[in-house]
């Protein structure tokens, strides 16, 4: 008897114009709930289960405990993929952010024709890494490629770029920075335009010079945008795949170019080692999760919210 009374109290307290609409929510959410169970939240757990098995899809899965994780820790190609991904992230994220910040500061001026100039910086963002990857593989081509022709003009010797172990990853980074620059510029521009003019007026009253205004007004107030692009660039960088597939695949990515997601693709969908691929994808997830937590913890120290 106690339960209906309590429910009645809750219902009475909630009785507004929208009381009794709760079951409509189920209707509106039905596709999302099915998707969550079958294609996102469910599979994330399933992936953990699969990572504990040896499964080639032809014979039934064998439970092997943490063997996949142990063998990955000793597998050269996986460790190289980890190192390359870390190298790619460490270079592409800071370079991309600093360039984007400088560009956003410049593009934020009320210049005539600025919209057209901005378009040039934004355009690469919407293009597929596959198609522009083909263009860049032609730019990097040792035979008549644009880059060798250009550096030849200033007397530098031609390089093999993608097939040179030293230049391979920097070449991929250059293309990625070029392609992703516009995203960060747009976020920074939105951040810059959200800074109230009063702060600059106050700084002008105090006699702050241009550099000092940048250092003490603009940059501190832009830290939320910097934080935001930082985390998204970081997560994105760990998932690099398309550029490697197009630029480095003819043949097979070498020790110099294989990345974590390429390793997952190869192990799962070339060699059908489902357990190993799932384990590698969980390692990717854990690395990204740990970095995200550390990054979020750091925000008290340097991010200023207005």
């Amino acid at each position: 008897m106690a339960l209906p009374i309590r429910l009645g109290v809750v219902a009475r307290r909630r009785r507004g114009p929208r009381a009794g609409e709760g079951w409509w929510a189920l209707l509106f959410l039905a596709p999302t709930l099915i998707g969550l169970a079958l294609l996102s939240a469910g599979p994330i757990l399933a992936s953990l289960g699969i990572s504990l098995t040896d499964w080639d899809l032809l014979t039934p899965p064998q439970f092997v405990g943490v063997d996949n994780f142990v063998s990955l820790a000793g597998e050269d190609r996986f460790l190289v993929a980890l190192r390359n991904t870390a190298f790619y992230t460490l270079l592409s994220v800071p370079i991309g952010m600093v360039l984007a910040l400088a560009l956003a500061l410049a593009l934020n001026q009320p210049l005539r024709g600025i919209a057209l100039i901005r378009t040039a910086y934004f355009l690469p963002v919407v293009t597929s890494a596959t198609a522009v990857g083909l263009v860049w593989s032609w730019i990097y081509s040792p035979a008549s490629g644009l880059l060798n022709e250009v550096i030849g003009v200033v007397g530098l010797p031609p390089q093999r770029w993608i097939s040179d172990p030293f230049w391979a990853m920097p070449s991929i980074i250059a293309m990625s920075v070029w392609q992703g620059l516009g995203i960060n510029v747009i976020v920074f521009l939105a951040g810059l335009q959200a800074i109230p003019q009063e702060y600059y007026d106050a700084a002008a009253v105090d006699g702050a010079a241009r550099w000092s205004r940048l250092r003490h007004v603009t940059l501190p107030l832009l830290t939320p945008s910097i934080f935001f692009t930082g985390i998204l660039s970081l997560i994105g960088a760990f998932q690099i795949f398309d550029q490697v597939y197009i630029l480095a695949r003819p043949g097979r990515p070498t020790e110099a170019t294989i990345t974590l997601v390429y390793f997952i693709y190869e192990s799962g969908f070339k060699f059908f080692r489902m357990g190993e691929a799932a384990a590698a994808s969980w390692i990717l997830f854990l690395i990204v999760a740990v970095l995200t937590v550390i990054y979020f913890r750091s925000q008290n120290r340097w991010v200023h919210y207005q």
Binding site: R18, P43, S128, T229, V288
Partner: protein, 318 residues
């Protein structure tokens, strides 16, 4: 100035004028204007040079796609082609056995439209529930959905592949959904964290009084959703549509995993396959890249404001 000190000698006059000018501060704005103008010229130059550098890969793609192979390897790299060799586009279009590039193009278009439609319908429904219908467990459920947004999509690659591969499908050669296009669009009709989040933010800004008024007139939630919320959310829906279209059109990894036959390929896998077959044939390859990029470039030029707003809101590219 007229009230300047009374002097007699020319030298003293000059000194007085320059003193008075310095005192009145008149040349300072003039100098500042010169500085501002020169700074502006430097800024313009840097931005324009940078912008041209950003466009060079595209320019080179277009130029190469119109050259003969002899010109590509002989002439100076940025020289113009001897004439527009459109035959590269024809060669590229018919390069692969049994299919034309048009097949890839239509496959990409079909998948992009199916994904866009699915996301618009199901994300807006979910967003309405999260924004406007109070129900028990709303907070935790929304939190769970958001959590899936920050987990790398590669984590679900293996289990989803196994799921599609084990679902029976009497209409395909494999007997399952492996080697069909269904895994590349059905999921879009089952909601999505990004779209739901984006639209919910927009719906929350719609005043509840509008819905309350409709409710008094006897409208049910579905009618409020379709007649009040959706029409008001057109800018957000456009943003979601453009992003979903772009993500599907540009996706490489998923088509690579699921598609088995050439006639199912999208432009991205088609181009990658083409790359393997046409090593060193740059004019034809650049023509292919050009054709596959054209729809996104046109869409961007037409709808730049929605792209910019979407990125500014989410920072996401995909």
């Amino acid at each position: 100035m007229t009230a300047g000190p009374v002097t007699t000698t020319p030298a003293a006059q000059v000194a007085a004028v320059s003193l008075a000018e310095r005192g009145s501060g008149r040349p300072l704005p003039a100098r500042r204007a010169v500085m501002r103008r020169s700074r502006r010229i430097v800024l313009y130059s840097v931005l324009i040079v940078g912008g041209v550098l950003m466009m060079i890969p595209f320019l080179w793609m277009v130029i190469t796609s119109l050259k003969t192979r002899a010109e590509v390897f002989g002439a100076a790299p940025l020289s113009l082609p001897s004439g527009a060799h459109w035959e590269n586009y024809v060669t590229m279009w018919n390069a692969l056995p049994g299919v034309t590039f048009g097949t890839f193009f239509l496959n990409s278009l079909k998948l992009a439209l199916l994904n866009t439609g699915g996301q618009l319908v199901t994300c807006s429904m979910a967003a309405y529930a999260f924004a406007a219908i109070p129900f028990r467990g709303r907070g935790p459920l929304f939190g769970l959905l958001l959590a899936t947004l920050i987990i790398p999509s590669q984590v679900v690659l293996v289990p989803n592949f196994i799921l599609w591969r084990s679902l029976p499908n009497p209409f395909s050669e494999s007997g399952s959904f492996y080697g069909t296009q269904e895994p590349l669009w059905v999921g879009a009709w089952l909601g999505g964290a990004f779209g739901t989040f984006l639209l919910r933010q927009f719906f929350l800004a719609i005043p509840a009084e509008l819905a309350d008024a409709a409710r008094v007139d006897g409208a049910n939630p579905w009618q409020i959703f379709t007649r009040i919320y959706l029409p008001l959310a057109k800018p957000a829906l456009a943003t979601l549509a453009i992003f979903t279209f772009m993500w599907t059109w540009n996706d490489l990894l998923n088509p690579l995993i699921y598609l088995q036959r050439l006639d199912q390929y999208t432009t991205t896998v088609g181009l990658a396959f083409f790359q393997g077959q046409y090593v060193g044939k740059w004019p034809e390859m650049m023509a292919g890249a050009m054709v596959s990029l054209a729809p996104m470039i046109i869409l961007f030029v037409v709808a730049q404001q929605y792209f910019v707003r979407g990125i500014a809101l989410s920072g996401l590219k995909g």
